[in-house]
């Protein structure tokens, strides 16, 4: 069952076309990789999907609960509320806030009590705040961060900051999770552990995951399908085995001369 369809997505910055005519389809429950050399436009695709950039042309359609919804042109917060959550390549946690606050903030769009209830800390507000803490602690357990709930996010070690970003994205209650280089800067042991966690999260929360990653061991191991981007265009897509042997992919990564040699 289809969950996201991207049709002829294009983004130009002045004369530079960063992403051109990208077509992509994601099915419910799939784990899909998006790879490509540096500057290929992978993060730009993420920024277009999550509304940080407005596409120059093309459409993005989300299929959720049997309804289809056009996402192109919507502001990021509406897209997030529709069920797309993301992490950032260069970690963007709320650095000076506690681990718990980082997670609670991401749950805000599902909070029901209003401003006036919060002015007076009415029972409805207090009750829901308590639930928020419980739910946050539940999520923090995924990466064993529950005992660090009161630490400032900036004081966490790098690997845990990456974990917290994933938890924060999960806290928005998404159907589709976009991970931008989740293993960047991690050592092989940490990457292996992260690989397992990602698969586990997908099962547990019934998610579809699209991830950008340079660590091929991770991509080849867990992705069911892979899209390869080069100069803003999809040059190949298929299963990990197909991609490994694709001539154009090898060219893009190693250069034309190398593949001829």
């Amino acid at each position: 069952m289809q969950i996201l369809k991207v049709n002829k997505l294009t983004k130009s910055f002045g004369g530079l076309t960063a992403v051109s005519n990208v077509n992509m389809e994601l099915n419910q429950g799939e784990l899909v990789g998006l790879i490509g050399p540096n500057g290929a436009g992978k993060t730009t695709v993420f920024n277009l999907l999550t509304g940080i950039y407005v596409p120059t042309s093309g459409t993005i359609t989300l299929f959720k609960d049997g309804k289809e919804k056009k996402l192109n042109g919507l502001p990021p917060y509406t897209i997030c509320q529709s069920g797309l959550a993301r992490t950032f390549q260069n970690i963007r946690l709320f650095k000076d806030l506690t681990v718990l606050d980082n997670v609670r903030i991401a749950m805000h769009s599902n909070v029901k009590y209003g401003l006036f209830s919060s002015f007076l800390q009415l029972p409805s507000c207090k009750k829901e705040e308590k639930e928020l803490i419980e739910k946050s602690m539940e999520l923090l357990k995924i990466f064993h961060l529950e005992h660090k709930k009161d630490e400032l996010a900036k004081n966490l070690p790098y690997g845990e900051q990456r974990h917290l970003e994933i938890i924060r994205a999960l806290a928005t209650d998404p159907v589709l999770l976009l991970l931008d280089e989740p293993a960047a800067g991690m050592n092989p042991a940490e990457t292996a552990q992260l690989t397992e966690s990602i698969s586990w999260i997908r099962e547990k929360y019934n998610l579809t995951i699209l991830l950008i990653e340079h660590d091929m061991s991770l991509v080849m191991k867990i992705c069911e399908r892979i899209y390869v981007l080069d100069y803003g265009m999809v040059i190949a897509h298929g299963t990990p085995d197909e991609i490994k042997n694709n001539k154009r992919v090898i060219e893009a990564y190693l250069g034309e001369d190398m593949s001829n040699a």
């Binding site: 990021p76 959550a85 963007r92 806030l97 401003l115 800390q121």
Partner: protein, 322 residues
């Protein structure tokens, strides 16, 4: 008995009653002279202004240089109402109307200007406050122009002052401890991440601006109702800066910091009264020295919580704690 001290709400209430009672006692026994009472009123008004500006600037991260503009709207609205209706009902009505008008104005101004960031927003809010001032100067028939409004009935007494100041602090603290408050704070921390996590940043910026303006309106109304006389120039750029100084001095993002800073500055200013000629110079030098040694402000973004107060007698808490 132990349970009473575990209940935070009750602790707050006891503390508030204590502060109110002590000051009331000092006023009735004459230890706080009429002159000091005036300082006390100014202090309370400054606390309301600083706490509300801290919500906009310290917590939501939107630099505003127009807080005095909202204050003047509250002041004029309340003054005009109490001049026509010199009763306590009129006073309450005036304060509320002043606050609501200021909030409405904050909302209308906030919608377009809060798209701007940093210095641009600061300039826009500065311009907005100046426009309000010019309107009050030129609206002769209603505001009596540059000459200002005279003989405004005085209703402000310590109980009123305390009620509004404590109310402001409580409501804004409650807000900041809720999900809505955290949404505001996340904008200051990282606007892009905040929006990507499903927070309508424009809505919360405008909300913080409107709520801040509401309380500035209350401060203005209390000001008008205490000092008999208001004129547009009292609410100029310098007044906005005064409030910003308190916020920065106390710590951006700390309500208790704003309260402490406002109090400290009031005390300093009173103590320097006897050196009238060099008073402003000493005041400025003191500020510079404090900012050199504590650039993050007195409290940084920490809060003085009641649990810390409770532990003050405890020797453990004295070690290495701020």
């Amino acid at each position: 008995m132990k349970k009473i001290f575990e209940n935070d709400g009750l602790k707050k209430l006891i503390l508030l009653i204590l502060i109110f009672g002590i000051v009331q006692l000092l006023i009735t026994t004459g230890i706080i002279s009429p002159y000091l009472q005036e300082t006390l009123v100014t202090l309370c008004i400054n606390i309301i202004l600083a706490v509300s500006l801290n919500l906009i600037t310290g917590f939501t991260g939107q630099l505003s240089l127009g807080h005095a503009g909202f204050m003047s709207i509250g002041a004029y609205t309340c003054a005009l109402i109490t001049l026509n209706m010199p009763t306590t009902t009129g006073f309450i009505l005036g304060v509320l109307a002043g606050a609501v008008t200021a909030a409405l104005f904050g909302f209308l101004v906030g919608l377009p200007t809060l798209r701007l960031k940093g210095d641009y927003l600061a300039i826009a809010t500065l311009g907005m406050a100046e426009i309000i001032k010019v309107i009050f100067i030129n609206l002769d028939s209603i505001t009596n122009g540059a000459a200002g409004l005279n003989n405004i009935p005085q209703f402000v007494t310590w109980p009123w002052m305390f009620l509004f100041t404590a109310g402001t602090i409580l409501i804004i603290t409650n807000l900041l401890n809720s999900s809505h408050g955290r949404a505001c704070i996340s904008i200051r921390e990282d606007e892009i991440a905040s929006e990507a996590m499903g927070i309508n940043t424009t809505k919360y910026k405008v909300a913080a601006f409107t709520i801040g303006a509401f309380f500035a309106g209350i401060a203005g109304a209390l000001y008008a109702s205490n000092f008999y006389f208001i004129e547009p120039n009292q609410f100029g750029f310098l007044k906005s800066i005064d409030v910003l100084v308190i916020v920065v001095f106390g710590g951006m993002g700390s309500i208790s910091g704003s309260v402490i800073a406002a109090t400290a500055l009031a005390v300093i200013s009173t103590l320097l009264q006897s050196f009238s000629e060099v008073r402003m110079i000493l005041y400025a030098v003191l500020l510079v020295i404090i900012m050199i040694f504590r650039p993050q402000g007195l409290m940084g973004s920490k809060e003085l919580s009641l649990s810390v107060l409770g532990r003050l007698g405890n020797s453990d808490s004295k070690k290495g704690r701020v």
